[in-house]
């Protein structure tokens, strides 16, 4: 069950020059969001921007939930100027979320690129007991977020950066490749979120190594509830709605 509700901003903390951690306290009781689910947020009372924007649940906390976001345009800029005590309208939780009981769940790998880290903490909180590995890639060291939160959950991020300023220089897939070859096993369940080119390459990688992978996708959204048909992605069963049948899909389904 999703709800349309008002939420009070508890905290809107800058983490870097363009990343913020938003804590929202819904003014009504809402269903607890599952990792991989998202909320549509209306960042302002005015009709500019007109449409709500989708954000993954980053973490559930006492009294509400958190969103980790990057300022990229109009709505996120307005959101970044909000203060504790301000109220916004939200819709959710929406979408399917990550499947938690995958067959080879004894060896779980989380893979995140850039803002794709946002839903991974919620997932890590849920499956910390399985001792998952986290492969985390970013452009540069300054864009790596929440490392200590993962460490607090007993997960030491395996980092790669495009410019080599932290961890291994290169893509997150390079790191995965060398790990898999040294592990000598492909018996993994993999969860991923990140930019489309990364997910597309990762999908090929997983197909090659016969790894079961679930990926959280992004598309532009208008309604978030399955009615506008704006957010579709091509799958082997035709177009599917990222907001309704997704945002999490099996990598085998997607036609990149």
């Amino acid at each position: 069950m999703s709800e349309i509700f008002r939420a009070k901003i508890k905290e809107n903390r800058p983490l870097t020059n363009h990343h913020y951690l938003l804590t929202l306290h819904p003014l009504i009781n809402i269903a607890l969001p599952n990792p991989g689910q998202f909320f549509m947020l209306s960042v302002d009372e005015s009709l500019d921007p007109l449409l709500k924007r989708p954000f993954s649940v980053h973490r559930t906390v006492e009294g509400g939930f958190q969103i980790l976001y990057r300022v990229v345009g109009k709505a996120t800029k307005i959101l970044s100027a909000k203060s504790p005590g301000d109220e916004i309208e939200a819709l959710g939780p929406l979408g399917n979320g990550f499947p938690l009981n995958i067959s080879n769940s004894e060896n779980v790998i989380l893979t995140a690129g850039g803002m794709g880290i946002a839903p991974m903490l919620a997932l890590a909180d849920k499956i910390a007991g399985l001792k998952p590995l986290l492969f985390y890639g970013a452009r540069t060291a300054g864009e790596l977020l929440c490392l200590d939160d993962f460490r607090d959950s007993g997960i030491e991020p395996i980092i790669s950066t495009d410019d080599g300023t932290c961890g291994r220089k290169g893509s997150v897939i390079d790191s995965l490749e060398s790990y898999i070859s040294s592990a000598g096993s492909n018996n993994f369940g993999l969860y991923a979120c990140g930019p489309k080119p990364m997910l597309s390459s990762l999908s090929k990688f997983c197909a090659k190594h016969e790894i079961t992978a679930y990926m959280a996708l992004e598309e532009s959204m208008a309604c978030g509830i399955g009615t506008c048909l704006g957010c579709v992605v091509k799958t082997n069963e035709g177009y599917k709605r990222v907001c309704k049948e997704g945002p999490v899909f099996s990598s085998r389904e997607i036609i990149w």
Binding site: L50, E89, S220, C223, T227, C228, G230, C231
Partner: protein, 318 residues
Amino acid sequence: MQRGAGLFFKGDNLVIDLSVSIGKIKLKNPVMTASGTFGYGDEFAEYFDIGRLGAVVVKGLSLKPKQGNPPPRIVETPAGMLNSIGLQNIGAEKFINEKLPFLRKHDTTVVVNFFGDTIEEYVEAAEILSSADGIHALEMNISCPNKEEGWSIFGTDPKVTAKVVNAVRKSTSLNLIVKLSPNVTDIAQMAKVAEDAGADAVSLINTITGMAVDIKTRRPRLANIKGGLSGPAIRPVAVRMVWECYNAVKIPVIGMGGIVTADDAVEFIIAGASAIAVGTGNFVTPLASMNVLEGIEKYMSDEGINSIDELRGSLICG
């Protein structure tokens, strides 16, 4: 307090009558949903009682399911959005079997929007939909390409419009609403053509063809290049067109285009709309249609207006 269809009482005195007539049918209030922005009604039922609506208008249906255009399909533009969904839909048959039973359970008027690639497809779809139980009216979308005439739009050539509306008119006894395209020079003429061909009402406006470019990549923002503009950005155009059609035809006019609040809706009614539809507004908040309904009631009560009939076309010029 509400007692029965669209009638509001204060004490024992009838105060406000929200009901409106659209051809042969009566809606309990003038608030409808615009096709393609309300799905088949089921998703919105999670947020409010869709039985409170004057009418539910469902996503455009064709004879056979249609997969639509490649993504990206939507982009926000100033005070609006462009869409190139490409009329993706589940097809008339699946709608009747899987979606209509749910709608039948609600105390609202069900309007089915439909289209075809050819006149034959329009007729066949109209026949199938007319034989189903629980559909109160058909709304034909003529803003779609005509396969037989080199994909020009059915709704922009008066001769083709007359032909397709005539053909559908003969194939259904249901209330027939013709949804006009705004991408024409003279919309009043098109309304007249629809009226003469037997339409019970006209609805307008559909989206205005537009385009947006990403200046970094120099690519169109929609994979389909062009899309339909909707939302508050098109409202002044829509109000003007509703007023022109209201003055040109005797059949009821259903107004839409950028309605998000009750004030927006009242503008259309004053310009001549018998009923109005909320479209893109449903994406702004799923409660938009209910906010519009409650706001219209409040406006009428504040202004001492007893019925929609009294308000409709009450524009004062000069």
